[in-house]
């Protein structure tokens, strides 16, 4: 066969924009989640149950609860996010869609960012919405509840973003769930400290603007760095699998 | 010397047990870590040596791995 007989190869040069690709990832994750609505309730139920344990296990007294309430809610929220992280990449990894995600001609960290945003909308955001109800149940006053919601609103995306790194690192390992907690909890400590500290400061009547700004800085830092680390970790885990 | 007598050195005005316990744990753990590390290296060397000797043995009777036949294995014991 001579060369002229072959049709020339046509190389595709343009793909869709990164934003459209991110939208596609986000829309797919949302659709999958809503096909299994009952699973969306799990972190919320877990959140409520952990909070319930404290009045039962420590003390139902108003003075204790109103003092410790913000911390209890923050720890419970942190644990529920942690619980949901294992699923962030696992199902995609098992059915092969994660390979196809990595092979999209797009910057991987942006796709991971889209996935993380979807994860936050499905776990972190509902927790924030539920917080006022639980805040009333642990006798927090109105101002504290408002500040608490605000700190959770800024803090839970950070939890999802840092968690994505851990989920990517432990992908495909046995006992990945426990390992994930071991890796991620130390990294969650600053967010927890500032989240509860802000509420405590507000309860003492101190201005909280600076603390909220600092938490916002955490969020910005996590938004810029975490997707890169998660993308690197994901490539390593896929290479292994 | 910061102490008047050897017994004062040991008791350190009541702080002796804390100080000596710290030093003991520190040096014991450090020594243990050094010992373990040395032993691990020796184990690794031995494993290598065994590997080479096994290889040397095997090369004398180098036979290609047989192809899979999927023949049933007779397990009857009569």
């Amino acid at each position: 066969m001579n060369a002229e007989a072959r049709p020339a190869v046509r190389l595709a040069s343009s793909s869709v924009g990164a934003l459209a690709a991110m939208k596609g990832v986000f829309a797919r994750d949302m659709k999958v989640a809503f096909r299994q609505r009952q699973d969306l309730l799990n972190p919320l139920l877990f959140f409520i149950m952990v909070v319930t344990l404290f009045p039962l296990g420590v003390s139902p007294e108003v003075s204790f609860l109103s003092e410790a309430g913000a911390g209890i809610l923050w720890v419970a929220a942190l644990l529920s996010v942690l619980l949901s992280l294992d699923h962030l990449f696992r199902h995609d990894f098992d059915d092969g869609t994660l390979e196809q995600l990595v092979l999209q001609p797009q910057p991987l960290f942006l796709l991971i960012l889209a996935k993380t945003v979807a994860h936050w909308m499905l776990t972190g955001l509902p927790l924030v919405v539920l917080t006022p109800v639980l805040g009333v149940m642990v006798h927090l006053d109105g101002n504290s509840i408002a500040i608490l919601c605000l700190t959770l609103l800024i803090g839970t995306p950070v939890l999802s973003l840092i968690g994505a790194i851990g989920a990517a690192l432990t992908l495909g390992l046995r006992s990945a769930g426990v390992l994930l907690s071991l890796l991620i909890i130390p990294l969650y400590i600053p967010v927890l400290i500032f989240g509860t500290g802000t509420v405590a400061a507000a309860a003492e009547g101190a201005p909280v603007g600076a603390y909220l700004a600092l938490m916002g800085a955490f969020l910005m830092l996590a938004l810029t760095l975490a997707p890169f680390a998660a993308a690197a970790a994901l490539r390593i885990s896929l290479s292994n699998g | 010397m910061a102490f008047d007598s050897f017994s004062a050195f040991l008791t350190m005005e009541g702080h002796g047990p804390y100080v000596w316990a710290c030093y003991a744990v520190f040096f014991v753990l450090l020594a243990a870590m050094m010992y373990w590390s040395l032993r691990a290296r020796k184990t690794a060397m031995d494993a290598c040596r065994r590997g080479y000797e096994f290889e040397a043995d095997k090369s004398k009777v180098a036979a290609p791995a047989p192809a899979a036949s999927f023949a049933r294995v007779n397990v009857s014991q009569d």
Binding site: I162, I165, L169, T170, L173, R174, S175, L179, L182, L183, I185, P186, L187, I189, P190, I193, F194, G197, A200, A201, F218, L225, A229, A232, A233, I236, S237, S239, N240 | M1, A2, F3, F9, M12, E13, G14, H15, G16, Y18, V19, A21, C22, Y23, V25, F26, L29, L30, M33, M34, S37, L38, A40, R41, A44, M45, A47, C48, R49, G51, Y52
Partner: protein, 247 residues
């Protein structure tokens, strides 16, 4: 340039050079460490505030100092692993992580024991002790991840990512823990912060810090050699070293 870099990263080269230096590291390290300890225990003057319990400083500070700088060293090696894929760098991270864990534990243990005569309690949620505890968790995570991944190349790179994420977090953790500490309790006097230390006090401290550095160097060499032996078993030079005892 690249040739030199490559040579520096070659396990064979490392094996030769480290075998030559190790006796010096070991002897020097132990001598310095013992000199620092004897001087600190018997000859340094008593602290007017804390009495003799402060003598724990001569092992607490070296352990705490090393524990933190080992993590920084691991982070530097992690960058080298990820960017240049130098074999020695990930051998280093894998080899020294358990040493870092033990040193962190020692810093915590000596800190706690020191706390008993000073504060009257074994454990206090002091900023330094708390961030040491978190450092212990970070080391634990690194070791757990390394053990969980079978393939050693993937393990090295995954651990490198984790160490780097951790090192970005360390200043944040330190800062937040200090802030949290001031929020919950008024600052009492700190264990190791002295307005001014007379030379008879800090010279032995310097000796023991240096000594522990050298002992750490020796430990790192031994453990890296162990790791290299099992990784490079199939190369000719390892075979020669194992069978004939020289590189």
């Amino acid at each position: 340039m690249w040739q030199i870099f490559h040579k520096l990263g070659s396990p064979k080269w490392f094996f030769g050079i480290s075998t030559r230096f190790m006796p010096w590291l070991l002897v020097g390290g132990i001598m310095l460490l013992l000199a620092g300890a004897v001087w600190g225990l018997a000859f340094a003057p008593k602290d007017y505030l804390q009495g003799n319990s402060y003598r724990i400083i001569y092992i607490h500070v070296p352990a705490a100092f090393l524990a933190q700088s080992v993590y920084i060293m691991m982070a530097s090696a992690a960058i080298v692993t990820l960017v240049w894929r130098m074999k020695l760098a990930d051998v280093f991270v894998k080899a020294v992580a358990p040493v870092g864990l033990v040193l962190t534990f020692l810093a915590l243990f000596t800190g706690a024991v020191w706390g008993k005569p000073t504060w009257g309690t074994w454990w206090i949620w002091d900023a330094r002790l708390t961030s040491m505890l978190i450092l212990l968790f970070l080391y634990g995570g690194v070791i757990a991840l390394d053990r969980a991944i079978n393939d050693e190349k993937s393990a090295a790179r995954a651990v490198a990512v984790l160490v780097l994420v951790g090192v970005v977090n360390i200043p944040i953790i330190k800062y937040s823990v200090e802030w949290w500490n001031t929020l919950h309790q008024p600052a009492t006097f700190k264990l190791t912060e002295k307005p001014s230390m007379p030379a008879e006090m800090w010279v032995p401290l310097l000796l023991s810090v240096l000594g522990l550095y050298l002992v750490f160097g020796w430990l790192a060499c031994v453990r890296m050699q162990t790791e290299i032996l099992s990784r490079e078993q199939r190369t000719r030079w390892v075979k020669e070293f194992v069978m004939k005892g020289r590189v």
